[in-house]
């Protein structure tokens, strides 16, 4: 039985405009970390705010542990929801010390108990010794951990994170992500987060919800969504891809790159997604073409550290290829292109 359920939830900010969230349904299991992923304006933050109670949906309902938070004729105000929230800018109260910030939501406890609970939460996030600091005297990473401790202190049933790592610099981001995930998992917290960063979503979440224009585009584990994107939008948003029209015949498809192996079944005219790492570039040393290989011309090369991304022209198409960075192929160089992975059949129509 899911802990948190959103049932055909919709919200329009203006009475005439397009809906920010359009008939969205979603279930979150206890102890699960779910990431809402999508470009800005896709309605992911609005969805989060409807769960928190800061926005009221025009239609649909939100249920937490069998209790209707919002639905026809029902609206539970944010303070009665047992839903914790960490804001994108953390929203630490600047007039309160670190420990008073964390103890803020513990009004039901005596002052001594609240302080003790706040201190133990801070300890959990490795913030001993910072209790009497003011928020502005903390680094960005410390502020974020205080915000997490504050949101978790009252023991919310579900924790919402709005772009939790976007304010951190990139060096800090990866290590913080690992550490925060470890603490949240050790607490068994149920978490729903919002992000536009696909790397962050895939690394942090147990399940991804890819959103587009207020609707759910695809739901699944990061591995499943990455390896079998349902649409070109998902394929592009998660890691980038090459789109190829083709004609399917079961477990293969005929394309301008020749016959490609296909994950699943392909029939008739189809649109295929071929990841950049499913292609390989080899320097064209022989003047005679080797059978099965395709000739390509390098148009651009972008060095990315552990790999390099090449844009090549092949068979009248522009393709993106991930390759080894030490490959000496500059713009204008001739190369051979090999297909080393499987293509995925997308639900989009080929045209």
């Amino acid at each position: 039985m899911p802990l948190l359920t959103l049932d055909t939830v919709s919200l329009r900010y203006t009475s005439t405009g397009t809906p920010a969230v359009d008939g969205l349904s979603l279930a979150v299991e206890p102890g699960e970390v779910v990431a809402l992923l999508g470009p800005s304006g896709c309605g992911k933050t609005t969805t989060l705010r409807m769960v928190a109670g800061f926005e009221r949906p025009d239609a649909g309902s939100v249920t937490l542990e069998g209790r209707v938070l919002v639905g026809p004729g029902t609206f539970v105000p944010p303070e009665q929801r047992s839903v914790g929230m960490v804001f994108q800018d953390y929203a630490l109260f600047p007039h309160l010390s670190v420990v008073d910030n964390v103890a803020f939501g513990l009004g039901a406890l005596s002052r001594a108990e609240a302080q003790a609970r706040a201190r133990s939460m801070l300890k959990l996030f490795g913030l001993e010794g910072f209790e009497s600091r003011m928020p502005h005297a903390l680094s960005g990473g410390q502020q974020q951990r205080v915000a997490l401790a504050r949101a978790l202190a009252p023991g919310p049933r579900v924790l919402l994170l709005d772009e939790p790592f976007s304010s951190l610099d990139s060096a800090l981001r990866a290590s913080t992500r690992v550490e925060v995930r470890r603490v949240l998992k050790s607490l068994g917290a149920t978490v729903m987060l919002v992000t536009h960063d696909q790397t962050e979503a895939m690394a942090f979440a147990d399940r991804l919800v890819v959103m587009r224009a207020g609707k759910v585009e695809q739901v699944g584990t990061p591995e499943a969504v990455y390896s079998t994107p349902r649409t070109a939008f998902v394929a592009y948003f998660l890691g980038g891809t090459n789109l190829l029209p083709g004609v399917g015949f079961g477990n293969g498809a005929r394309t301008v790159l020749g016959i490609l192996p296909v994950a699943g079944q392909a029939k008739g005219n189809v649109l295929l997604s071929l990841r950049p790492e499913s292609l390989r570039l080899v320097p064209d040393t022989d003047s005679v073409a080797v059978g099965g290989a395709l000739r390509a011309e390098v148009l651009a090369r972008e060095f990315q550290g552990p790999s390099a991304e090449y844009t090549v022209a092949c068979g009248g198409l522009e393709l993106t290829v991930r390759g080894a960075p030490e490959l000496a192929l500059g713009p204008g160089a001739r190369a051979r292109l090999e297909v080393v992975g499987r293509a995925v059949v997308l639900e989009d129509s080929p045209e």
Binding site: A52, G53, F54, P77, P78, E79, Q80, R81, V83, G84, M85, F87, Q88, D89, Y90, A91, L92, F93, P94, H95, L96, F104, G105, G107, A108, M134, P135, H136, G140, Q143, R150, A151, P154, E163, S166, S167
Partner: protein
């Protein structure tokens, strides 16, 4: 890169700083000449009474103005009050009321022979007491609550809506979140508002003198006017300066340790306005009542007596108006020209000396106007008899009095001038004189003119220095309102007061439009 300022610039800056400090220094000199008897007079009961009445009025006005401004600020920024933008503007209009005009309005409405005194008595209604404490409290609260309103509105608009949402998600009801998050975070706004209002009341002359509340500034004036020995007046002035400086020091001490800025980057969401529901009518009534008191009553009273004055054909307005314009224009030009070297030094050659010079210019703020005027009277009589009683003396008083304001506007104009622009001109082959003529001056001109206009409009409604230092027979609009009101000739005072109100409104409008560019509406 550390550059040395040219000598002529330092010399003129030093002269201006010395001029600004002159009245305070001279007051000290004059007080040090006082004998033991005079000091004994200062320490008698009357002085303590003055001190308590002055501080009591300042505290009461500050409290009333804050209590009035908080709900108004919240209603006009956070709620769905109908027409809240219009209300916000209307509620700031009383800023344009010089306090002696507020005093006039109360007297001309409810005082002896006032427009509403007789009708109220006829209908058996109580006439509000306007002499002494109640009148001074009412007049000054109406004149000063907009300072709190502006500070609190800016504070509310600067607050991250996520703070309130954070409090809600941590289990607080909207009302408790307001008291535990919104109000504590307004502390800097309350502090700056209280400082402005407190100093305003301490240094006010017009309202307390007209409404006959025995505070320091009225006592100083009465002593100056009536007594042969003016040493006691000087000592009272010194005491008022000490109180004013004490308030400034107290404020610095009380300033909180917390940083009240948003703790991280990222766009803040605009908060949805709070729905008032059944509180809408009481909220509208509150705003309406305050506007009626702060705008409706003054305009109504002034128009009523203005019409009476026209039919009676009393005292011409043109002469005093021309005098006001002349003295204010000279004073404004002097203040802006005097501010130029100080501001230029502080912005372009920051160093200990130049910053100290700029600070010295702010000395005028610590000196209540009546004390400043009194000190210049002493100075004129004793050291500059050839200037005393001439227009030049009045212009000098305006220069010292408005130098802080002029330095402020000139400084901000200079700061807005991108230092790369003169550098670009130089790199394009312009000699320093050409850079100054073709780039610096054209870029500074609008700001300097606006600054001068602002000082001009403020000088038009100056009362105490004009009263003490204007040449004999040199009536201005402000002194005309003063003398006519003091003698109960309300009709005669109405027209000059109306002109002053219009001028003052223009000044506030200019100020708001200048600051409007940077502040969120």
């Amino acid at each position: 890169m550390k550059r040395r300022a040219p000598g002529w610039l330092l010399a003129s800056g030093g002269l201006m700083a010395a001029l600004a400090l002159l009245p305070a220094v001279y007051l000290g000199v004059r007080a040090s000449e006082a004998d033991a008897d005079a000091w004994g007079m200062l320490l008698r009961d009357r002085t303590w009474g003055l001190l308590w009445r002055t501080l009591g009025l300042a505290a009461a006005v500050t409290g009333c103005a804050a209590a009035l401004a908080l709900p108004l600020a919240w209603l006009t920024t956070r709620s769905d009050l109908p027409g809240r933008r219009v209300w916000a503007v209307l509620l700031c209009v009383p800023l344009a009321l010089p306090t002696f005009v507020s005093g006039y309005v109360l007297l001309a409405a409810f005082g002896t022979g006032g427009a509403l005194e007789e009708p109220l008595t006829r209908w058996g209604l109580p006439v509000p007491p306007v002499y002494g404490f109640p009148g001074a409290l009412l007049a000054l609260t109406v004149s000063t609550y907009p300072y709190f309103l502006l500070a609190l509105r800016a504070g509310l608009q600067a607050q991250d809506p996520a703070w309130l949402e954070g409090a809600r998600s941590l289990g607080l009801t909207p009302a408790r979140a307001f008291w535990r998050v919104t109000v504590p975070l307004l502390r800097p706004a309350f502090a700056s508002g209280a400082l402005l209002v407190g100093l305003y009341v301490l240094s006010d002359f017009g309202a307390v003198a007209l409404l006959q509340y025995d505070a320091f500034s009225r006592a100083i004036y009465v002593q100056y006017e009536g007594a042969f020995d003016r040493t006691y007046a000087a000592l009272l002035g010194l005491a008022l300066v000490v109180v004013t400086v004490g308030v400034l020091v107290l404020e610095v001490r009380l300033r909180g340790r917390a940083g009240y800025f948003r703790s991280a980057k990222g766009a803040a969401r605009a908060a949805a306005p709070v729905r008032l529901g059944r509180w809408r009518v009481p909220a509208l009534l509150l705003c309406g009542a305050v506007v009626a008191l702060g705008v409706g009553l003054p305009v109504g009273v002034l128009l009523y007596w203005g019409v009476q004055g026209l039919s009676g054909a009393e005292g011409p307005v043109l002469g005093p108006a021309l005098n006001s314009v002349l003295a204010s224009a000279l004073g404004a030009s002097a203040a802006v020209l005097g501010a130029l070297p100080l501001a230029f030094l502080a912005v372009r050659y920051p160093g200990r000396l130049t910053v100290a010079m700029e600070r010295a210019a702010y000395g005028g703020y610590a000196l209540p106007p009546i004390v400043l005027a009194l000190s210049l009277v002493f100075l004129g009589v004793q050291a500059l008899p050839f200037l005393y009683g001439t227009l030049a003396m009045l212009v000098l008083a305006y220069l010292v009095r408005f130098l802080p304001q002029a330095v402020g506007t000139v400084r901000s104009t200079l700061l807005q001038l991108n230092p790369h622009l003169p550098e670009a001109a130089a790199s394009l082959g312009q000699a320093p004189s050409g850079v100054f003529r073709r780039v610096t001056v054209p870029l500074l001109r609008p700001g300097l003119l606006a600054g001068a206009a602002l000082v001009f409009l403020t000088a038009m409604k100056e009362l105490p220095a004009t009263l003490l230092l204007a040449p004999i027979g040199f009536d201005t609009l402000a002194t005309r309102v003063w003398s006519a009101t003091a003698e109960g000739r309300f009709a005669e005072a109405a027209l000059p007061a109306l002109v002053l109100l219009a001028v003052s409104g223009l000044g506030v409008g200019l100020l708001v439009s200048q600051e409007g560019g940077s502040a969120p509406s």
